[in-house]
Symmetry: C2
């Protein structure tokens, strides 16, 4: 069999789009690269790289500058870098007691970021959407109008249908069957796509691209504040499940005779390791939230036996649940995010003991447990990554339509 | 960018190999297909299909026959079918109290199958390898010498490194760090590749290709006899984990204060739902194995309250663990294999209640629970599928080397 002449034109266009995507993804993930490095990373020829970089430069997505010689023989290879203002996204995050908004440029540069606490009981859908629209307007107002907005991403502590940002359940916000994606698109009055996903999934994505998981392909990200969520990366791809609901690790049953959970079940992992459990064990009101947890950590640092015992117990339950997940998923890396990143020094001991006892030796030997590198902003930065996904997958659409970004929303 | 002339030769060969693979996979999965159906399923042109079928026919892998007209206008499209004797594999299975061997032809035709019980305590590595070699010789002796053997696959109830068939742990067989793949290759005296994998993973593969999971892309297969294992299919692919150890669902902790498990932990799911747990609940010796379980099912059918209560309790624990897995993995289909397939009618009620109570509604609404379609032979048939994998991935190697199959072992 040979490839017919008429195939080549079509394939050539498909290949061009895939190659533009490969170049933008490399620059987005790794930062500025020389043309030689792009040749090595993409497997494309030097002349193909030159042509594609030219297209991306014409579209305002990349700039080139002479590179230093670095002691190598031969002509220095120009350094290619993304123009962070050439494509920006709005990233949003909804927590039970805080919201956040950021403007992030292609390549991951955070231009603006605002996080504001909200009193409990102000998390109705209407309040939340209005507050987020105000916060987004604030961060946008600080940027020049020449920024080219290409997408909006939002992280929410709930169970989200990826296709349309429909939140079927967010027990800690008190939401059920909420069309969050559509409501945000309306309130923000933007014509670019608005994507919504679970905060733990997005935290995992951000840690994988820019944090503790860079270069890893099998990662379990566990994130907690009030609720506990998980983001699973398998073979380098997010494990989303049949309908996008996978990763609800906080609702594994770990204690059949345990406490009632907000989801309606009993003895969920969240009831033993969530923020409320830690606060109750430490003798603080369950509603004291992040500030209460910070106080428990301070007390532990000062040697409080009550605080240390509470953290020890949470650590043991953390290890028990993680052992089950190690046996089921065989990850190489476990990243402790949110609350668990902050208490990492106090829980890693009992956590490790429980993992050693309960995980199968073959899987246990291969897995490392580390705190998240991006701290409290992991999910917000993941929302930015989500918002960039359409551009990364097919930059050719943006190259072709530089002057008419509004059209993209209807594509 | 355009495709250079020198690229086309290489791509053409790569494309040819991929196309041969696509055709053989379609015929292997779906049975005889007309040339027109192959055109529709592979997206290849009619003339490309004709050429590739010719190559496969010359290699003795497929035959063509005139198709009936089926009331359609136009010339009938010839029906293409695999020659089951054109490529056969030896499939092996190692259970605690039984072993099995089969000869399976390309396309899944089972030519020969033998399963023999073994007394407990006869499952040392040496005994097992010798017994399997004898059983394999028996089933081979019934086939003509013209059969072209292309691979050996083995299913074992243990934790297996796929790369070389090294069994790091098979607690119910009492094995640790056993080079099973190498030992089988030596004892069988074959020159074709010998592949080994976990029995539940292989049960899942077989149910996906030929059983209850045909057409599904997100499947959780749970298999149990003495131990409990799982095979996970995500986006149509097996979830193997970082090192091939994923799917050890029997060692999720479901009861932190429960019974000691053979793996060294406490309260593993296996201790509540495995064959031993059911037998103990029903007042029978844990060692009575498959025959004991069959007796419990017979007693339940006859109305024994003890047997029904034992099955009810196993059903509740089954539902509890499955709910955790539904929340973590969001599968579309759960297939109950082995022991769980046989007790399905007695456990589905309490199982469903526990699932309803503990799985998150969004994921719960989408998942169905069905008994395995392949019964006791699922893992053995999966071992055959594993053994065919190298041929399915690149039939061109076999097309080119028909007369020298022995060379393949060293490729």
């Amino acid at each position: 069999m040979s490839i017919g002449r008429d195939d080549i034109g079509q394939r050539s266009e498909t290949v061009r789009r895939a190659n533009l995507s490969a170049i933008v993804r490399e620059l987005h993930a790794h930062g500025p690269l020389s043309r030689s490095e792009l040749v090595a990373r993409t497997g494309l020829t030097r002349s193909a790289i030159r042509g594609l970089i030219g297209e991306l430069a014409d579209a305002g997505l990349v700039t080139e500058s002479p590179a230093a010689r670095l002691g190598m023989p031969g002509r220095p290879s120009p350094l290619v870098r993304l123009d962070p203002g050439g494509a920006v996204v709005i990233a949003l995050e909804i927590e039970v007691d805080a919201i956040a908004a950021a403007i992030v440029g292609l390549g991951g540069h955070v231009f603006e970021l605002e996080r504001v606490d909200r009193p409990r009981g102000h998390s109705s859908l209407d309040d939340t959407v209005a507050d987020l629209a105000d916060l987004a307007a604030l961060v946008r107002s600080r940027r020049p109008p020449s920024d080219r907005l290409v997408g909006v991403g939002a992280a929410v502590a709930g169970i989200v249908r990826r296709a349309d940002g429909f939140v079927s359940m967010a027990p800690n916000l008190g939401w059920r069957d909420v069309p969050l994606g559509g409501r945000l698109a309306g309130a923000l009055a933007v014509s670019v796509p608005v994507s919504v996903a679970n905060e733990a999934d997005l935290g995992a994505l951000a840690e994988l691209r820019r944090g503790a998981g860079v270069g890893e392909t099998h990662v379990l990200f566990i994130s907690g504040e009030v609720g506990v969520g998980g983001g699973l990366i398998v073979d380098g791809r997010p494990l989303t499940g049949a309908a996008g609901y996978a990763g609800e690790i906080g609702h594994m049953t770990v204690n059949p005779d345990g406490a009632p959970c907000r989801c309606g079940s009993v003895g969920c992992w969240e009831t033993e390791v969530g923020g409320g459990a830690l606060l109750a064990l430490a003798g603080r009101p369950r509603e004291s939230g992040r500030a209460g947890i910070d106080a428990v950590v301070s007390e532990a640092a000062a040697g409080s036996e009550t605080a240390l015992a509470a953290l020890d117990q949470v650590g043991r339950w953390l290890g028990l649940g993680l052992a089950s997940l190690v046996n089921v998923l065989d990850p190489r890396l476990i990243v402790l995010g949110g609350l668990f990143g902050r208490i990492h020094p106090y829980v890693i001991g009992p956590l490790t003991s429980a993992l050693d006892r309960r995980a199968l030796p073959a899987s246990r030997a291969l897995v490392h447990v580390v705190p998240a590198a991006l701290g409290v902003d992991a999910a917000l930065l993941g929302a930015a990554e989500l918002a960039f996904e359409a551009l990364l997958a097919d930059p050719a659409r943006w190259v072709a339509s530089r002057e008419t970004p509004a059209e993209l929303a209807t594509a």
